[in-house]
């Protein structure tokens, strides 16, 4: 029988951590609750090592053990002075990492086997939480100054404290600047693409030009737009329009050409008019391309709106908040702003992806094998 080396590492390093110094926080004997949790983790690691259980059981067990260990280490570090964690804590963290790895690996295998959506969502979520935890432990344990990198808890506090300000920034940047620009840019790109589709000459000319322009650093037009349209949201929306136009145009043109010959011939045997073919066959076939552009553009639009704010803005907006907070060395607020931007970006991307899934369910990439 092959022994589980990862679990052995987890158990051995966790036991070793018991004997090693912890730093300013004192020894394990001073902290009975943490000691109890830690022992529970060791027990689970040892149990799983000697009695390998079924996959689901194993994933659950390792997860519980890892949780107990994580809480124990976190509490220990909270008690101690910042930046004074000693070898025992780091060795313990390695043991914890091994157990987390085993839990994730079992979870991933479980997800692959059962194809259960909750498990497949829980595994990456657990990994994300683990990364946040590591970030927290490392910044506190090594005493990283919060001017360089604040721990996640401090960012969360800052986020909660300035929720009102950040809400206004969100409205300014996302609702007022980005959404109008995104809608106009994508809409114009799509319409021009459909119109040009009837003129192959223009199409052959615009495709290479559009591809080239898509690769250019268009963000650079931000100062010009601020000069033309002023400091308020109009200039940001204008930057977003220009940034989103060309990817949409190129993808629409490519998508309208994606209909296979067979399907085109079929429409012709039905004596379908140009409009009917466009509406019933070619636009649906172009949808994957169009959604590709929509997803790409959602990220580009947020970048455009925020970067344009560096060149001049009323005293509100995510980009403004970032640049002023950096100036005041309030890095926790910067990270809180970034969190808002990241959540916004992810939500926009996710919403478009969901819409894509429901509209292009027929596409091979969404079919279940």
């Amino acid at each position: 029988m092959r022994h589980d080396r990862v679990l052995a590492t987890a158990a051995l390093t966790a036991i070793a951590a018991l004997a090693l110094p912890l730093g300013d926080t004192g020894s394990w004997q001073d902290h009975p609750p943490e000691l109890a949790l830690w022992s529970a983790m060791i027990a689970i690691a040892l149990f799983s090592f000697f009695r390998p259980a079924a996959m689901a059981m194993m994933a659950g067990l390792c997860l519980v053990g890892a949780l107990a260990g994580a809480v124990a280490l976190y509490l220990l570090l909270q008690d101690g002075a910042r930046g004074d964690a000693a070898i025992g804590l780091w060795i313990g963290l390695i043991g914890l990492a091994a157990l987390v790895w085993r839990a994730l690996e079992r979870g991933a295998a479980l997800g692959a086997e059962t194809r259960s959506t909750p498990v497949n969502l829980a595994v990456p979520a657990a990994f994300g939480i683990w990364l946040l935890y590591l970030w927290q432990m490392l910044t506190i344990g090594f005493g990283v100054p919060s001017v360089l990198l604040p721990p996640p808890t401090q960012i969360a506090t800052s986020l909660a404290a300035s929720a009102h300000v950040l809400g206004e920034d969100f409205v300014q940047t996302f609702v007022k600047s980005m959404i109008p620009g995104y809608v106009i840019g994508c809409g114009a790109g799509f319409l021009v693409g459909v119109l040009i589709d009837r003129v192959p000459f223009l199409q052959r000319g615009l495709l290479p030009v559009g591809n080239l322009v898509s690769a250019l650093p268009i963000v650079g037009i931000a100062p010009i737009m601020v000069m033309w349209f002023g400091f308020d949201w109009q200039s940001k929306a204008a930057v977003v329009v220009v940034m989103t136009f060309f990817p949409m145009l190129v993808n629409t043109i490519a998508g309208l050409g994606a209909l296979s010959r067979m399907e085109g011939d079929l429409m012709r045997t039905y004596a379908a008019s140009y409009g009917q073919t466009l509406r019933l066959a070619r636009l649906p076939a172009a949808l994957p391309f169009i959604f590709n552009a929509l997803k790409l553009n959602s990220t580009l639009a947020l970048i455009g709106a925020i970067v344009a704010e560096f060149f001049g803005t009323p005293i509100v907006g995510l980009g403004f908040r970032i640049s002023t907070s950096v100036g005041r060395m309030d890095i926790a607020l910067v990270w809180a702003t970034i969190t808002v931007a990241a959540l916004t970006g992810s939500a926009a991307y996710g919403a478009i992806a969901l819409l894509e899934r429901s509209l292009t369910f027929w596409h091979p990439s969404f079919r279940r094998v």
Binding site: A108, A112, L148, G205, A215, F310, I322, I331, A341
Partner: protein, 310 residues
């Protein structure tokens, strides 16, 4: 076309050229570019006209014609939209008339930006390949890490750029490296995604074959996965190099950097030097286009060397 008809006399090539023009994309592209130039000139007249009229009125010059107006819009010092030839004059002045090491030369500023972009491109490509290799070989990573790599791109890194620059600056990193980090962050994503696709692209049949040869994971990687991933790698690299340049330019914006194309954009916007902004933009565009073309060239050479399809 070249092989089917023997070329006799001078008329044939000419006709072939004509056919190439009408069927290929050269003529359409030229038409589009010409149309863009015409639109640009038109927009320059339209946007600069209010300023010109204003100036005429202040000079108490009532008898001006439309011709005067157009002529004035073409040669203002700080136009709302400079005409193409003004940008060309500025480009000529800042590229060919001054020595490349001068601080007034766009070659100098372009090189500052390009060096940061290339360094970041190298970092990002390396990171992308390493991550993709890990994801392909360790299923747990595929399930847990890949979703976060995708999510990482919805974070507007360009928005974080000022902080990265300032924070790294405060611990002593200034100049190229912080900008390169931003470039690298933008670059690694397309490379990772492309390489995951590329490294998993060998057919199951081929994988089974090398497995019957008792090949190790390393041998499978170098002899089968890597060669089949090359096409995907280059497609990703073309996207990545363009992103790297964007990253380097934006990296120069927040700190009031002294040199680089981004710094030129920033000083241009502070002092209303629109011609300078447009010249910097054109140089950035040319740099990006040349870099993408260079990657394309390397791709063609590599594929030819590997004996693959062109």
């Amino acid at each position: 076309m070249t092989t089917s008809e023997p070329v006799v006399g001078g008329a044939m090539p000419l006709r072939m050229v004509a056919r190439g023009l009408s069927q290929g994309s050269t003529l359409p592209v030229l038409t589009i570019v010409a149309a863009l130039l015409v639109i640009w000139y038109g927009a320059a007249v339209w946007l600069n006209a209010p300023g010109a009229i204003d100036r005429f009125e202040r000079a108490h010059r009532t008898a001006w014609t439309f011709g005067d107006l157009v002529a004035d819009t073409m040669m203002q010092d700080r136009p709302v939209l400079p005409a193409p030839h003004q940008v060309l004059v500025e480009l000529n002045k800042t590229i060919f008339q001054v020595s490349p090491s001068s601080r007034r030369s766009l070659v100098y500023h372009g090189w500052v930006t390009l060096s940061a972009a290339l360094l970041g491109f190298a970092f990002g490509t390396l990171l992308g390949i390493v991550l993709a290799t890990g994801i392909v070989h360790v299923p747990t990573l595929e399930r847990s890490l890949l979703p976060w790599i995708i999510a990482s791109q919805t974070i507007p890194i360009l928005a974080i750029a000022p902080m990265i620059i300032v924070v790294l600056g405060s611990i002593g990193f200034v100049g190229t490296v912080p900008k390169a980090i931003i470039s690298a962050y933008l670059c690694f994503f397309p490379v990772t995604i492309g390489m995951v696709k590329g490294l998993t692209s060998p057919e199951p049949l081929h994988l089974d074959l090398v497995r019957t040869y008792n090949a190790t994971a390393a041998q499978i990687f170098w002899k089968l996965r890597w060669p089949s991933a090359i096409v995907f790698l280059f497609a990703s690299l073309k996207v990545a190099i363009a992103l790297a340049i964007v990253g380097a330019i934006v990296g120069e914006l927040p700190t009031g950097a002294q040199a680089g194309l981004g710094a030129r954009l920033l000083t241009g916007s502070y002092y209303g030097q629109t011609v300078q902004i447009w010249a910097a933009l054109i140089v950035a565009a040319i740099t990006a286009a040349l870099c993408v073309a260079a990657v394309g060239l390397v791709e063609r050479l590599t594929l030819r060397h590997m004996g693959g399809r062109p």
